[in-house]
Symmetry: C2
Subunit: 338 residues, 2 copies
C-alpha cells in the first residue's frame, strides 16, 4: 500500500547525511504530515530548522517509532541493526543508509534510476547502497542495459564526507594547521589528511587484499544491477576533498562501441549530466558536483589498453551526501509514495 502524507522520522538527524536528509525533504517538498528527529544522547536537545519550524532532536529509543510511517536511518549500521526492526514492528517502512541490511536477500538495495521496481518486494526495510556504488551505478546501468558490461575496473577519489561530519571537520582543521605550520594529530581518521590521500581506511581482508569499501562496492553493484557474475576490481582511495566522490571507470563491453554512442546513451539517461568538453578541458570535478543531484560524467573515450575497442573509460563525480546518500534515500521514499 503506498504511503500517503507519511509521518516521517529521521534517525541520525544531526550527522552529515542527516542534515542533508532534512534539506532534501524540504527542498523537494516531500509531502510528509509530520517530521521527528532522532539522534544519540550526545546530540539530543538541539533544535534543527525545517520549513521555518524549529524541531527538537530527541533521544532514540525503541518506542520512538510509535506513529511513524517512514523512518530514514543514517546513524551507522549498529543503530540500524538495533532499531530498524523496532521501527518495522511499529509499522514503519525503513529506508536505511547503513550497510546493515544491504546484502540481505529480503531487502531491496535501490538506486531509483536503476532498480526502482525492486521496491515492490520490500519487507519493511529498503537499503540505500554504498555511496560509491550509487555514483557508479547511475552511469553504468544505461550501458549495462544497452550492451551488457563484461568487466569493470574502478579507482575512486573519495571525499571526507563518507567518514562523516567529523572527518570533514578534521580535513578543514588539519589543513588549516598545516598552512599555519602548526602540528595536528588526527583523531577521526587514521592518517594525516592535509594535502594527503590514503587507501580507504576500512579493514583489509587478508585473503583477497580488498578493503571493506572495495568489497562493498563490488557486491552491491552486482546486486543493484542484477549482474551476479560481473567481475569488478576496485581501488578505493580517500582524497582531501570535502563532499563529492570521483571515480575513474574502465568498463569492458561485449563488442566495440564508439565513445559517441556511449555519450549519447548517457546523455539520455536519468540522473546524469554530461560534462565532457575537451576543448575547454572541462570534465567532472568535485566542486561542481557538490550540491548537485546529478552524477557528472565525462572523459568518455576508448580505453587505449584494449586494442579491440571493447573497453570504455570515463570519469564521474557525484555529491557523496546527496546522490550518494540523502538524496537517494529521499528518492526511494518518493517512490514509496506512488
Amino acid at each position: 500500500m503506498p504511503l500517503q502524507n507519511p509521518r516521517v522520522a529521521i534517525v541520525g538527524a544531526t550527522g552529515a547525511v542527516g542534515t542533508e536528509l532534512i534539506a532534501c525533504l524540504q527542498e523537494r517538498k516531500f509531502p510528509l504530515s509530520s517530521l521527528r528527529l532522532f539522534a544519540s544522547e550526545r546530540s539530543a536537545g538541539r533544535t534543527l530548522a525545517f520549513r521555518d519550524q524549529g524541531l527538537p532532536v530527541e533521544v532514540l529509543t525503541e518506542d520512538s517509532f510509535a506513529g511513524i510511517d517512514l523512518a530514514l536511518f543514517s546513524a551507522g549500521s549498529g543503530t540500524s541493526r538495533r532499531f530498524a526492526p523496532a521501527a518495522v514492528r511499529h509499522g514503519a517502512i525503513v529506508v536505511d543508509n547503513s550497510s546493515a541490511f544491504r546484502m540481505d536477500d529480503a531487502v531491496p538495495l535501490v538506486v531509483p534510476e536503476v532498480n526502482a521496481a525492486a521496491l515492490a518486494a520490500h519487507n519493511g526495510i529498503v537499503a540505500v547502497p554504498n555511496c560509491v556504488a550509487i555514483i557508479a551505478a547511475v552511469p553504468l546501468w544505461p550501458l549495462q542495459q544497452a550492451f551488457g558490461i563484461t568487466r569493470l575496473i574502478a579507482a575512486t577519489y573519495q571525499a571526507a564526507s563518507g567518514a562523516g561530519a567529523a572527518a570533514m571537520a578534521e580535513l578543514r582543521a588539519s589543513t588549516g594547521a598545516y598552512l599555519a605550520g602548526r602540528p595536528f594529530s588526527p583523531t577521526v581518521l587514521r592518517h594525516p589528511y592535509a594535502f594527503n590521500l590514503f587507501s580507504h581506511d576500512t579493514p583489509v581482508d587478508p585473503e583477497t587484499g580488498a578493503n571493506d569499501e572495495e568489497t562493498k562496492v563490488g557486491r552491491e553493484l552486482r546486486k543493484i544491477m542484477r549482474t551476479p557474475e560481473l567481475p569488478i576490481g576496485v581501488t578505493c582511495v580517500r582524497v582531501p576533498v570535502l563532499r563529492a566522490h570521483c571515480i575513474a571507470l574502465t568498463l569492458e563491453l561485449p563488442h566495440p562501441v564508439a565513445p559517441d554512442a556511449v555519450r549519447a546513451i548517457l546523455a539520455a539517461a536519468p540522473g546524469i549530466r554530461i560534462v565532457d568538453d575537451a576543448e575547454q578541458n572541462h570534465f567532472p570535478m568535485p566542486n561542481e558536483a557538490s550540491g548537485q543531484g546529478d552524477i557528472l560524467v565525462g572523459r568518455i573515450r576508448r580505453d587505449s589498453s584494449d586494442p579491440s575497442g571493447r573497453t570504455i573509460a570515463m570519469f564521474v563525480a557525484g555529491d557523496q551526501l546527496l546522490k550518494g546518500a540523502a538524496l537517494n534515500a529521499v528518492q526511494i521514499a518518493e517512490r514509496l509514495l506512488l
Copy 2:
C-alpha cells in the same frame, strides 16, 4: 668518455625542480668541480645556496655553456629546444627534464633502475621521462623482467608540483582562502584547486580522447621498458596534494602470479620500498613519499575483475620533484660519471 669532476650548469635553477636539483647534487655529494645556475631574466640576480656558498643566478644565453661539461635542464620544453643544442655544441652533455626530446630515437629516455644501459648510446642529450612514467616504471620493470606485462591500466593522483612551484603556491593560497571564506581566482591552473581535483589540465586529443599527459605516460613507458606493443590505458588526475604522485596500477601478466610472489620481486628491486601493512592499514601515501627517493609500493593484490588470476593491482607513491624529476636526473648524471 666518462665525465670526471664535471663543470655543471643548471638551467631553470629557481624552479621547483631546479631547487631540488641543487639539493640533490649537494646531498649526494655529486663530484662536480663547479656549478653555475641559470634562469630567465625574471629570476636572474638572485643568489642560491650550494655547499655554504652563495651562487648567483645568471641569465641564460647561448654562450652560457662555454666550459660546461654537464647541463641539467629543467625550464620547460621551449627552453630545452632552444638551448640544449647550444649546450651540446659547446661539448656539454645535457640531461633534460622537459618533454622536448623524449621520443627522439637518438635520445635515450632513462630511469636508471630500468634502462641505464641505454645511456651508452647518447648523442649529447639524455631525457628524463615524465614524472608519472618514472614513478610507474620503477615497480613495473621488475615485473616486466620476471613475467612480461601484457596490459596496463593506471589511474593517477597527481600533485601540484607537476605544474611547478607556482601551482604549489596556488594550491596553498587557494586552500587558505577557502578556509577563510575569501574568494580566490586561479591564475596558474585552469580550475579551482582548494579541496578539489580535476582531469589533468593538458590538451585533449580529439581523436583518442586522451590528454597529453596520458599520451606521454603510455608512449614513454613503452620506450623506457622497450615494450613497443604494450597496451596502456591511463587516466591522469590532479589532486590537491603538494609534491608526491600516487598511481593505482592494474597490470595483466601472461599467467596467474601470487601477490606474495609479486611482493617478493618488488621488495628485492632497486628504488622501491614496500609499504603494504594490511593490519595497520598502512599503504603508500603522498606525505610519506615526500622527500623520499624510493617509490613506495603497496596494496599488492589480485585484481578481482580478472577471474583468471593473471591481473595484479597495486598502489604506488613517489615524490614528483625527486624521483619524478630532479633525483632521476642526478642519478642519470651519476651514471655518466662511471
